[in-house]
Amino acid sequence: MKQFAKSTLKVPSVLLVAGMTFTAGAALAEPITVVSWGGSYGAAQDAALFNDASKNSGIEITRESGASMSKTCLQVESGAVTWDLVVTGSGGAASAAAKGCLEKIDYSVVDVSDFYDNLYTDYCVGSDVFATVMSWNTDKYGEPGSPGAPQSWADFWDVEKFPGTRAYRANNVDGALEPALMADGVPADQVYEVLSTEEGMKRAINKIRELKPHIAVFWDSGAMQAQLMKDGEVDMSTGWNGRFDNAKKDGAKVGYTFDQALLDYDCFAMPKGAPNKDVAMKFLAEVSKPEYQANLPFHITYGPTNKKAYELTTAPKELIESLPSHPNNVPKMLPVSLDWYAKNRTKALELYMELLSE
């Protein structure tokens, strides 16, 4: 048993998840629990960030899947916190922080001096930049940029020009309303202004209702977006750019565009009362270093939050240019407004659920 426990410690990542119950006896310090998502996202983080950061810092980690801010809050409220670092969307972190579920980040430990200004907050440190894009089956509608290929949300809605089935977000309003307004002709820079009234939200909902007969599936995870495109279950889907790139690597006939996409970021947050707060903070400082982020694009096409990573990365030029946070791509996109979500998320979700339940 000892033998086995030691060997799992030297090979963290996936094996560690299975071996977690054995680690306690063999380790000197308590391993910290780092929670991310399943599918290619978590695997990419293991390969680029967690494994090397753990090795270099000597901090042992236990990896779990199924990260969620609601579970984090449940742990905090019930006083049984077992997680130390949790991956979350920026909006989720903002909501959880507002509910008092998160520890403040100690920026004397975590160095964000080279970070983009808007990619860290008091309660979370950006881990990567991603985009909510529209993707399509390239066999059906052509390669991105080729004549006749879809270019805008208006095309996503245009079932006459692009006949076929669509997939859209299920049971969560994040990134669901903005595309509808853009498809309805609202310029990107006015989207959140329009959405800040109930009429604006209803306008977006109505636009989605218009498309609903053609929405064959509502996805509720990144893994599902990739699967739907891989299986050819739908012809066009919204989703996260990295998932589609990885699906493409797996042989899926899928392409996407950054035009009118939503620019957003994921981050690390720490549950209030995390059991290994200090060690976890050190680990957070370690993974936020540019040398790790520089490796991320090899595994998933999400951009670094640390500017220095662009200097350090050995990734080829095409790969760098395909990242959502690349200066060429950023101007095409609409950055997600955390302010708007903080104020309107609850109301928007109620309206969106009304539409879904119809």
Binding site: S70, Y168, A170, V217, F218, G232, E233, L349, M353, S357
Partner: protein, 298 residues
């Protein structure tokens, strides 16, 4: 002779005391079980009720219930939930009744073998079974491929990510819950019953509907109720096979928790679902003798 009745009564008091003591002892034997029930059922349910009346500001509030009236999505998900549950139950009855009847007719050993096949879903992971259906039923799935190859239909038929797929998956998972009680009720029907009916002049069809069916009804009601109630709270299968188009109460509870961390609103939904379930059980108990059905009384 005259003193004897008094003597005879001497034992009465001590015996009564002893009886009371024994009853308490018996009760104390049951206390661990009672404690477990209180711990795992009553306390969480009470907590659920309490949470559903606490507003965002931590004060007593009816806001969660008010919201359920204000937004149509709530009543719709309840209707969907009941619709899915009723349809699944009906499908299970349509498939399960003939199946149980067939099993009850088979000789014991053969019936055991078939029962194993019926029970197999019980021992397979729910998630695995659900995704297996996805693989079978999706647009470019095995079934569509096959049907198009042999020319049954020309373009893919939408079998999953909708109500159809949900019902197929649910019925598959729920079938054993219907078949088991039904089979055991059917096994209790003596062969002589059908002989008697036929001997008295009933055709096989008449004998079935007037004698066999009424006698198997208790098992059918028990199985159907179990299936129905289990369906009401089901999450995984509708979430995966419904493709986001079949929004059940459980789905909505998850959405509220995941996006709003709003335990009060989620609890309120749970409370309403619980009450609706109890109401249905109550109505069913008016219609059928439920205690007989569920606890096997005659």
């Amino acid at each position: 002779m005259h003193q004897e009745p008094r003597d005879n009564q001497l034992n009465v008091e001590p015996l009564r005391a002893q009886e009371v003591r024994e009853q308490w002892k018996l009760l104390s034997l049951a206390s661990p079980a009672l404690l477990v029930i209180v711990a795992i059922i009553l306390i969480p349910v009470t907590w659920l009720f309490y949470l559903s009346f606490v507003g965002g500001d931590g004060q007593f509030s009816l806001e969660h219930y008010r919201k359920m009236i204000e937004y149509k999505s709530y009543s719709r998900t309840f209707i969907t939930t009941f619709k899915v549950s009723i349809l699944t139950t009906l499908i299970c009855i349509l498939i399960g009744y003939p199946l149980a009847y067939f099993l009850a007719l088979l000789p014991q050993r053969l019936a055991g073998l078939f029962m194993l096949a019926v029970l197999l879903p019980f021992w397979t992971s729910l998630l695995v079974r659900t995704y297996a259906w996805l693989v079978l039923l999706q647009r470019k799935g095995i079934l569509n491929d096959f049907a198009m190859q042999i020319g049954l239909w020309d373009s893919p038929v939408k079998l999953v990510h909708n109500m159809t797929g949900t019902l197929i998956g649910m019925a598959h998972i729920m079938l054993p819950f219907l078949v088991l009680p039904l089979y055991s009720a059917m096994k209790k029907i003596e062969r002589d019953m059908m002989h008697a009916a036929s001997n008295l002049g009933a055709s096989p069809t008449y004998a079935f509907w007037k004698v066999y069916f009424p006698l198997s009804l208790s098992g059918l009601v028990a199985g159907s109720l179990i299936v129905f109630v289990l369906c009401l709270g089901f999450y995984v299968t509708p979430a995966v096979l419904g493709g986001g188009r079949v929004v059940m109460v459980s789905t909505q509870i998850t959405a509220i928790l995941e996006n709003q961390f709003n335990w009060g609103a989620a609890s309120a939904l749970g409370v309403v679902l619980l009450l609706a379930t109890l109401l249905i059980l109550y109505l069913a108990s008016r219609l059928f003798k439920l205690d007989a059905v569920l606890f096997g009384k005659d």
